[in-house]
Symmetry: C2
Subunit: 328 residues, 2 copies
């Protein structure tokens, strides 16, 4: 599989991005193309190019976090984001990963690749694994702040395909995130979406609540991008707090942070609150496998994003999505 990686995007680019790529090149059977400032990438990765399946693609422009997405992709055709999306469009890569300006990646994917027919709004699908036995996919995690019921039905369909082929769940349980389990609960969007999903051929288990996220009730958690983003970030913030906790001065072992938490059996839970474990969110519903990583991604997150991109490319997730839609 060929993976194109935006080496200029993210708070810790290019250093941590390159480190993550090197780790991934050791771990997975993939070809990784680093896109960014050529000279800098040669400095950072040059000595690995021959030994590992790594290459460098120059990008003379860069899109900053604070730039207006649409303007940026129009004005900067030689940015790593636009180049990566073009590679995907031309079939020169099987997946593209960026930890850069999320809005710009969304716009570039939407306009460069186009939407899969039948899906009006691409959605960001984040893995949320607060229950040990049952990791779940939450979507939309932030691509669409305002949604209509039809979009939520489509998110349910996208999530069902993803969890079927990536998690290997034959009939994924679809839950609609709400403020109560009863059918009549929720805001207007959720009440109307409930009826649409209920009348689809999906394995809909009904409304689920915030507490269900830790209970493994559903395989797919359907929500609008506004709520989804707040939930994901609330969990992330809590995870950060847990990692920072210092043991009392009389604590018997000389452990801190993750090691301390693992020592008392909390390793799994804290890991489950750590976005770097999954490396990124798949953008579902566009014609191409696009992974959007967290802006704060370090090497570990990037390595895991490459693992996820590799799985998505192996099954050709975006192709499966168009086929599934055709069958409906």
């Amino acid at each position: 599989m060929r993976i194109a990686l935006d080496a200029s995007g993210g708070e810790y680019a290019p250093n941590e991005i390159v480190k993550g790529a090197i780790k991934a090149a050791h771990e997975y059977d993939v070809e990784i193309a680093l896109i960014g400032k050529k000279s800098l990438l040669h400095l950072l990765a040059g000595k690995h190019l021959k030994k590992l399946n790594l290459s460098i693609i120059g990008a003379s422009q860069n899109i900053d976090f604070h730039e207006h997405p649409m303007e940026a992709i129009r004005k900067k055709p030689r940015s790593s984001i636009v180049i990566g999306i073009n590679l995907l469009k031309e079939g020169k890569t099987d997946a593209f990963i960026s930890a850069g300006n999320t809005g710009a990646v969304l716009c570039a994917a939407l306009f460069g690749l186009g939407k899969v027919e039948g899906f009006e709004r691409p959605a960001l699908a984040s893995i949320i694994s607060l229950n040990r036995r049952s990791p779940a996919l939450l979507l939309d995690a932030g691509a669409n702040a305002d949604c209509r019921p039809n979009h939520l039905l489509q998110f349910a369909q996208l999530g069902s395909i993803y969890t079927k082929y990536i998690f290997g769940i034959e009939s994924p349980r679809i839950g609609l995130l709400s403020n109560g389990t009863e059918e009549t609960k929720g805001n207007r969007l959720i009440q109307e979406s409930h009826q649409l999903i209920k009348n689809s051929n999906l394995n809909f288990i009904g409304n689920i609540e915030g507490t269900d996220l830790s209970r493994g009730t559903a395989d797919v958690i359907v929500t609008d991008g506004f709520t989804g983003n707040i939930v994901i970030k609330t969990v992330e913030g809590l995870g950060d707090s847990f990692i920072k906790v210092k043991p009392p001065s009389d604590y018997s072992r000389n452990l801190r942070g993750r090691a301390l938490l693992a020592d008392v059996g909390l390793g799994f839970l804290v890991k489950s609150m750590d976005y770097s474990e999954y490396g990124g969110a798949c953008l579902l519903g566009v014609k191409g496998n696009v992974i959007i990583s967290h802006g704060r991604s370090r090497a570990k997150a990037i390595k895991n994003a490459i693992g996820l991109a590799n799985r998505a490319a192996e099954v050709n997730l975006s192709q499966l999505i168009s086929e599934a839609k055709d069958e409906q």
Copy 2:
């Protein structure tokens, strides 16, 4: 202060409710009236009535969790919820607490007490204390699934008064929960609410994100009741998971649950995710001090709810809210 307590509402009523009342009667200088099945309450609390400041008020009817709120309060005038709200209306108690059917308490308060002029929608205000240095008030925690910008402005005003008089913060920092800190982020509701709150005389710090909940960025977290409820329950679910964690078999000390977590310095964080620490949410914007407790409340939560009701009654929170509105 006189506190009326619904002894029939909640999963563990009346046993745990009565236990909580007995604990609170020892701890606070309050008169507590237990409302419920007279004979049962005499059995449970009878021997304490003379020693402690406890009394019993009979309620021959009971509103169940699954009953339709509006119908229930109409059909059951002798239920503990309707009796409690009437006591408040008649000035025979300074506050009323219920862990029963939330919708029914909301309806009874709305129609029995009425709204404070200028506040279109009463809001549930939950204390969320994920940051050690800075507890915050989140509202609306679930009373209004669909909101308009004007409602969110009013929630900001309600939260500002609450945190000023209950937390003692002179100029509370108001944050608007969104999917990004920039003014342009958010769904339509949030974008419009942002402008309204920005142009008010409140100490508005702008949009905050899910991660800010753990960072103590704001004293008041303003959100619609749909999003607020999901956030509160996501945190609650995580707290439950943490408490259930078992240490590895080689863990040196024979500790479990809360004791184990406290042992490694996590006591505060896990406590902060536990709704029973605050006991309940104040219903702000109605003419009377109403506290709605969690349906799963046990003695500790009820005791803490009585503490909160006592503070609200001491300052006469609902009166302060009408006065503040008059001044604006």
